[in-house]
């Protein structure tokens, strides 16, 4: 069993310990490929984790923006040395790994939530309504990992793992040009937040969303989430969306404010440890998926809550 984790500078800061949690189920050691530019410090950090046998550094100016066209051909060569390839199911992993699979013309399993053996994996289908166990037939198992479902493994070793520079052919794909990026201001990373406060369409305006959901989240040092309806109404950015087509979160506490509980939303938060729901409608579906419920008007409950925290 040869396990490879693929990550980036940002991945090392956020979900790498959860990927170790997944890798540890398969083997006692793994290699980590870090992709990007100016990675010297990051790679040294990765080399201190106990589980790591070797760190592969794929570091080049052309890889600064992590464009799949530049990265995938090199990764497609590297993965041939492994039986299992794990990457977080975030925007980077979802973009790059299937392109690698396409180059190799082999299948991939997306959003793995559990590893039962070296070839049997669990994942959800149909917006989380169905959980399946799949037996993977390919020699190389390409897996995107739903990191919030795996334990954090962050044991460090006093000795550094071997660090190897991966040669990169340096050919920049001139058909693809990075123009700009707009980063949203999210003080707490939603995917890895310990507490998440989520608002729905019943907030009624962006101003109300900000003064209720964002302020409460700030008080609790929580990530800000939104239902698809709230995002479509323009109350919050797309990157706040929790659900089938947005982010999947599994915090210790999930506070659902004015969320009706559509199945597409539930699929993004059902693994939260404790769910607390506030809704005016006692029949709202969210209460079937909550541990604690409060029937009440969010415009009364949230300000009182904020006042009491103050």
């Amino acid at each position: 069993m040869q396990v490879l984790i693929i990550t980036t500078q940002n991945g090392v800061k956020t979900n790498l310990p959860n990927l170790f949690g997944a890798a540890r189920i398969l083997a006692n050691e793994c290699d980590v490929l870090v992709v990007g530019h100016e990675l010297t410090d990051v790679v040294r950090d990765v080399a201190t984790y106990s589980l790591v046998k070797e760190v592969l550094q794929l570091d080049h100016a052309n890889l600064k923006h992590l464009l799949a066209e530049n990265i995938a051909p090199t990764i497609a060569q590297i993965v041939k040395n492994y039986t299992h390839v794990l990457i977080a199911a975030d925007a980077f992993g979802k973009n790059v790994l299937p392109r690698v699979a396409g180059i190799l013309e082999i299948g991939q399993i997306s959003d793995v939530t559990d590893i039962l053996s070296s070839s049997v994996f669990k994942k959800f289908m149909y917006a989380g309504n169905v959980l399946v166990e799949l037996s993977a037939l390919e020699d190389i198992k390409l897996l995107t990992i739903r990191t919030s479902n795996f334990d954090v493994v962050e044991d460090r070793s006093s000795t550094l793992a071997l660090i190897t520079q991966v040669s990169y052919d340096g050919v920049n794909d001139d058909r693809v040009k990075f123009l700009t990026e707009h980063n949203s201001y999210n003080p707490v990373d939603l995917s890895s937040a310990k507490i998440v406060v989520t608002g729905g369409r019943s907030l009624g305006s962006k101003e109300a969303f900000d003064s209720h959901i964002r302020v409460l989240a700030q008080k609790l040092n929580a990530g800000v989430g939104a239902s698809r309806a709230a995002v479509e109404a323009g109350y919050a950015n797309n990157d706040c969306q929790v659900g089938q087509t947005g982010k999947v979160v599994a915090p210790n506490v999930y506070l659902a404010i004015g969320i009706s509980g559509a199945v597409q939303h539930i699929s993004g938060m059902k693994d939260s440890k404790t769910v607390v729901a506030v809704n005016t409608d006692p029949n709202a579906a969210i209460f079937e998926h909550a541990d604690y419920g409060l029937i009440g008007d969010l415009f009364e409950v949230v300000p009182t809550l904020i006042n009491r925290i103050n």
Binding site: E133, L134, L179, T180, D189, N252, A290, D291, I309
Partner: protein, 248 residues
């Protein structure tokens, strides 16, 4: 210019899917079926481009049995010019779907392949990227904005924290996020017109590809977790819960 769009027949998003009694699959025999919502976004965008440039031809591709003709008719009612059905009784995995698309791309040479970012049945989010890898085409995934500029497209991609804008040279593979547009309602005359539009039917032998599985489904379970909710009387009790769970 040609645009190839995908049209997958899936269980309607409003239907609650059930696991079959023996746990070997999904009980979808009598469920209402629809065009995959993300494919609707992709088709809508292609139609908007065609409204600005009438020289664009839009071809819809579906893979499945004769029942998939329904979603191809829907695609053509939405504005696609013609359709191709590649016949298969098997439920294809993304890598097989990408292989079929590759053959149709070789046959039709579209400048843009515009797909939904994921199908709402397997939620895999793979086909567009796999196809781009196979063809060695640039890829613009999870796009929320699209603009054609001569022999290039400019796309905004939805990222983990914000968006990024890329310029990609044609031919390209693009995958649509739900935020790309709001698909319009279909009117009756368009449905009538769609019945006159041609559907070419091909099978795997015509394309020279053979069916292969990369996974086997061992067991399916009901994925829904219902909890017994303890109702609280007031905000004070809510604060106690937050304290107990160390959120405060």
């Amino acid at each position: 210019m040609k645009i190839l769009v995908g049209a997958k027949r899936v269980v309607d998003p409003n239907v609650k899917v059930r696991v079959s009694a023996d746990g070997t699959g999904i009980d979808a025999e009598h469920s209402k079926m629809s065009l995959n919502p993300f494919d609707e976004n992709a088709i809508e965008e292609a139609v908007r481009l065609k409204e600005k440039n009438p020289n664009i031809e839009i071809i819809a591709l579906s893979i499945g049995n004769e029942k998939s003709i329904d979603v191809l008719r829907t695609a053509m009612a939405r504005g696609c010019d013609r359709a191709i059905l590649v016949f298969s009784e098997n439920n294809l995995e993304p890598i097989m779907v990408a292989k079929v698309f590759k053959h149709i791309v070789k046959q039709e040479n579209p400048e843009i392949i515009l797909l939904g970012k994921q199908a709402i049945d397997d939620d895999a989010n793979q086909v567009g990227q796999m196809l781009a890898g196979m063809l060695n085409y640039p890829q613009g995934t999870f796009i929320s904005k699209l603009q054609i500029d001569d022999n290039k497209v400019i796309v905004a991609r939805e990222m983990d924290s914000g968006t990024e804008t890329l310029e990609l040279k044609l031919p390209v593979v693009l995958t649509a996020d739900l935020h790309l547009n709001e698909p319009r309602f279909i009117k009756l005359p368009q449905l009538m017109m769609a019945k006159k539009k041609p559907i070419e039917q091909l099978n795997f032998d015509d394309l020279g590809i053979s069916y292969k599985e990369s996974t086997v489904l061992l067991q399916a379970y009901d994925g829904e977790i219902k909890k017994s909710c303890k109702m609280l009387d007031n905000v004070e009790q809510l604060i106690e819960v937050l304290k107990e769970k160390k959120a405060l």
